[in-house]
Amino acid sequence: MKIKIFDRKMLALPYALFMVLFVVFPLLVILYYGFTDGSGHVSFDNLVNFFQSSKTVGTLLYSLFIAVIVTAVCLLIAYPVAYILAKGEYARKHAFLLVFVLPMWINFTLRITAMKEILNVLEGNLAYYPFFNTILCMVYDFLPFMIMPLFNSLTKLDNSLMEAGADLGANKWQTVFKVVIPLTIPGIVSGITMVFLPAMTNYVVLDMVYNSTYIMGSLIGSYFSSYDWNNGSLISAILLMFIGLFTIITDRLMSTDETGRR
């Protein structure tokens, strides 16, 4: 009998290696630093201190608040746009899509710089409206990331389902709310994941629009630049927990949604 030296499973090896080296290992390092003190003893002090200080908790809530608003605004703008692009009767549908997605190919610092100059003319002094400017620039920055997944899931949506809704007596709005939106939830969820977490940490945008208030990303950076690997890692771990929590909730939502339909 010939010994099989090549197994198809071996094709997965490079990927597995990659995962271990660049995903699992760094995560373990973050957790190690997050839950030890400077001298390597296991400690929960970092965690306790984080939730005891009104400033750090404030930063967490401030970042969440920014992220929620940015995501909501992105969704409100992107959904109609994606719907019109996907379902509208245009000759050059993809050309229009390109117009919306094109900015994604330009470096975001460049886009924000341009936006800053426009706002400076409109507002006179950017420093008067740091919060508004932050939201505006982040929405501008992240919008394509919301449009793309929505567009994809709307294009895949079978038109006959909408026709069926109309045949059964639903008006236009009812079709949208009872047929289209429930069927594109996966697109909405992936759009939200693409926008929500970056919005919590993208401090470069804040810096650029002169918002001197820290968000989670800047907080991590400030700890790292003062060699405080432990507290910085802990905050990264807290963000990680948010991603985990978020994924679990959306998974639940999507699976109950499917069983509900059956």
Partner: protein, 468 residues
């Protein structure tokens, strides 16, 4: 056949290895890490040649690093290969080194040099390097007496900085301001950043040490500006003590001041301040002298006049210096020689001028017997013959420690230069009398100060809802 191939491969490999080791025994590899854009890269245009005298024209054709390699070979007959890399902040450099990057010669700022001294990371310079009778010792021969005295008096935990560090560039911390909006008097105090007349029109550096310095000066404003304090014999020593205070009471007061500044200022900026001054978005900006020169130059190109001032309370005298790392050089005498030679090469007056021209900062080199540095300053700033509003500006303290010689170092400059680039590059002696070196914070205070800085920047939920 197969064996034959193997043999050939082995022979080739052996040849390669021996080739390598042979090369190793001849060439020295010098790993240098310096600030970004902090050395002349050459490639000057023909119109950029600096014509100081009939037989003294300075021109940057190749990068200084390349010139060093050639110079080293010509002078010592040895080949040195420089691996040159850059860093963006002192902390970044320190992190790279602790993570395991190996360098032989690096150029951090004074407080980072002190931190490295404390952690026993540095090699002292050799006695030979300090010998000013050797022709090639441009550093020992050319170092400004003013800087030399500062270095020798600057002790950190019992040891002199001069033992481990050779200066490169130096300067002050001050305020770049727009004279149309802010008076010279307003810009002569750090209080400017709390002035509500200029609400949201001024930027402060997003750097805990620079912000802390200004706030500490405000914190002890009454004390350090009192007649009694100003006229005391050991004024500078006392001022140094006050502005280096890091006890918890001071840190708490500084936190309040910085929070107030944050509310009043346009923003804390990392790099945007220079451009925002030039475009007129802000009218005052806390800045290092070298960047101030750059900002003023840029504004000038747009026919726009900006000024620079070092506040009366005191200014932070900073410098960047070359230090040799134990982890890189260890026992390698040839490497150490090459590292010291590099420091000497960049300290050669004409090379110092090339650097100053290229990066806008001021070299610690005054040239000793060589006049090049003073000629360059004069070439840069002396008034045109037909100019009317001119003054004599004395910078002798930098060039000589004999006060009687100071009158030889006078630049007749346009009056505005006493508030502009010349003032930034070579501050008058009166400014240096109140300039303080800010030491490396003690370890435990450093943690507290960083926490204070985070507190200033964070969104305080209790304050927002009016609970506090």
């Amino acid at each position: 056949m197969k064996r034959g191939k193997l043999l050939i491969a082995a022979a080739a490999l052996a040849g390669l290895l021996s080739g390598c080791s042979q090369k190793d025994s001849e060439d020295v590899v010098l790993r240098i890490s310096n600030w970004e854009e902090y050395i002349d890269l050459g490639g000057w245009g023909d119109d950029e040649a600096i014509d100081l005298d009939d037989d003294l024209v300075i021109f940057g054709e190749n990068s200084l690093v390349e010139d060093f390699e050639n110079w080293y070979y010509e002078t010592y007959g040895l080949i040195v290969k420089v691996e040159y890399s850059t860093f963006g902040t002192n902390e970044e450099l320190y992190n790279q080194i602790t993570i395991g990057d190996v360098y032989d010669l690096v150029c951090p700022s004074e407080y980072m040099i002190m931190k490295m001294m404390r952690e026993d990371m540095l090699l002292p310079y050799s006695e030979e390097f300090k010998d000013d009778t050797i022709e090639e010792n441009y550093y020992a021969r050319g170092l400004s007496p003013f800087i030399r005295n500062t270095f020798e008096e600057l002790n950190f935990e019992g040891e002199s900085i001069a033992k481990y560090a050779a200066g490169y560039m130096w300067g002050t911390l001050g305020i770049v301001y727009n004279p149309e909006e802010i008076t010279e008097e307003e810009a002569s105090t750090w209080k400017l950043f709390l002035d509500e007349d200029h609400f949201k029109r001024m930027t402060v550096k997003d750097s805990v040490r620079d912000a802390y310095f200004a706030a500490a000066a405000l914190c002890y404003y009454d004390e350090i500006t009192s007649e009694e304090f100003l006229s005391s014999d050991d004024y500078l020593e006392k001022l140094t003590e006050v502005l280096n205070r890091t006890d918890s009471a001071t840190v708490e007061k500084v936190e309040d001041i910085l929070s107030a500044i944050r509310k009043n200022a346009y923003s804390f900026e990392t790099d945007s301040g220079k451009a925002d001054m030039v475009t007129g978005k802000v009218i005052a900006n806390q800045q290092w002298s070298g960047d101030a020169v750059y900002t003023l130059d840029q504004a000038e190109e747009d026919d726009y006049e900006l000024c620079y001032s070092c506040p009366e309370e005191g200014t932070n005298m900073w410098f960047d210096g070359w230090v040799m790392l134990k982890s890189g050089i260890s026992q390698d005498a040839r490497k150490r020689h090459a590292a010291e030679a590099f420091v000497n090469f960049v300290s050669k007056p004409e090379n110092a001028v090339r650097n100053m021209y290229y990066i806008g900062y001021t070299s610690v080199i005054s040239g000793g017997d060589d006049e090049t540095i003073f000629l360059y300053a004069d070439w840069n700033y002396s008034a045109e013959e037909d100019e009317e509003d001119v003054v004599d500006y004395e910078i002798g303290y930098f060039f000589s420690d004999d006060e009687e010689e100071w009158e030889d170092y006078v630049i007749t400059c346009p009056e505005s230069q006493t508030r502009r680039q010349l003032y930034a590059q070579y501050p008058p002696h009166s400014v240096m009398e109140r300039s303080v070196v800010m030491a490396c914070f003690p370890e435990e205070d450093n943690t507290r100060i960083n926490r204070m800085w985070t507190n200033v920047r964070c969104f305080d939920i209790l304050e927002f809802f009016g609970i506090k």
